[in-house]
Amino acid sequence: MNEVDNVGYLGIDVGSISTKGVVIDKDFRIIAKTYLRTQGQPIQSIKELLTKLSSQVDRKTKIFGAGTTGSARRLAGIMLQADIVKNEIIAHAIAASYFHPDASTVIEIGGQDSKIIILRDGIPVDFAMNTVCAAGTGSFLDHQATRLGIPIEEFGGRALQAKNRVNIAGRCTVFAESDMIHKAQLGIATEDIISGLCDAIVRNYLNAVAKGKEIKPLILFQGGVAANIGVRKAFERALEQEIIVPDHFLVMGAIGAAILAQEATDSKKTRFAGFEIADIPFQSRAFECEGCPNRCEVIETLKEEVIIDRYGDRCGKWSEL
């Protein structure tokens, strides 16, 4: 190991709505941190993210390990030649228990899904994830904010100005939205409706996602929706406890991936391809296999026109390159 080099670990969390990345040093201090919208183009976002990260990192820092997580973790892992590709549940748990070793519950609400992770003595022991519906997740809140013409940053704050409690039907986006419109037509103040929506989201989360889980303190609230003070307050009302939003709540998944990368490369050399891959053409394309009526959608990733990965087939005909 060259003494002059600073050690860095890269973690990337590519979700459906946003792409997050961090570089941490060997003591897990954050050197660089970036957050941007995925906008349906993960390859573009990953490249952009890498460019931004590399500009924040000084030249002496060398990446000793890279990890990816999030729904596009596989794609990101292949592009980066990451040392570890881990799903977001574990990544969030790892980061949470690093910053708050006494945390027992992690509430994570992201763009498309919500999760609860139960930790005991810093080890993830149980989790649950919503499976049926996207109501109560970041994209739904975004949509409602746009519909009401309120910037998303102010959306949660408006809920705190509510004077009355209003009930909004919670589970399904369709029901919730039509209920909100209905209530608005009755002349109820927007603030009250937003506050009602926050309560509905929390109620739905506790009944569907966190059902049967023992929610013990300390409770952390991570993911994009944690920025929403209205939802946070609604959680505090419902659980009658303080909820902690970690400083880096937006990038906790990425931090977890970076920590995992450190674990994975312990005394091994990294496979990481370097920040330069931001300039290499990557392409991802899908086709429907016609081998059987299953018609699996196979997804290929190409690096400089060469196929480097295929997945999505059930039978293994394509994924065995």
């Binding site: 009930n167 039907a169 919670g170 589970r171 399904c172 029901f175 039509s178 209920d179 209905h182 109620r203 506790l206 009944n207 569907a208 966190a210 059902k211 049967g212």
Partner: protein, 291 residues
Amino acid sequence: MKVGIPRALLYYRYGNFWNRFFSELGVEVILSPKTDKTILEKGLGKVSSEVCLPIKVICGHIEELKDKVDFVFLPRLVYLGDKLYACPKMIGIVDIVGLNFSALLRPKIKNDFFLPHFQVGLALTHNPMKSFLAYQRAKEELKFSKTIPDFPSDQPKIGLISHFYNLGDDFIAHDIIATFRKNGFLIYTKEDLPPTILENSKGFAGKIRWIYERELYNAFNYYLDKIDGICNIISFGCGPDSLVGEIMADKAKTLNRPFLQLIIDEHTGRAGLITRLEAFIELVKKRIVAN
């Protein structure tokens, strides 16, 4: 000594019997209040989100009672008559509640009502004579003798085909019943029919081994050609209804009778529900005029 009875599920059929039985025993009964939003919410987190609304409702009622009584009375109806079963969830929910709450009185009813209730009486009063007499006196409340209802020809008539624990619970069915009433409809339910009709075991009804589902199907068949339309209310996640409801829908369609299937759960928005009902009511009224 206070015994709590949840106002849900079987209460809507055997409530009178139980009230009488406990009052004859000299035991104070605390009945949970009518279902409301708070009660439902207490029940929601207690049981898997996939189960039907009535099960979530009863869990809420039990939560409501827990701290106020010495025992909660939660009978388990396994079967009646010739092994006609209650639904799996009605049987299982007793154990599920029992997993985390032990002050339960759970008589197991397998056709015979006497022994399980006698045992409950004995456990509460330690007096065999009193328990025996309490059952004997309350027994008459178990008779559900009804006469066949009238079908006046000058009024629109609607059959509400649903379980008694759905129709009896204002929180679940009030809006539906009120909408039909407001539009001048006479309402017929399976509870209005005598046992001779409900217990018919000929045809497909005989093949249904779920006791209340057989009653529903028989009531549906009986009303089909006597009234103007059928509204079948199913709670989402109800297994037996998903099956028999499909068969009823098919039969009504084949015979060209107005038939509306409403699927309800705790998220059902009131506005949407009433819109659908009003459209159906218009349709039924138009048919009456045309005929």
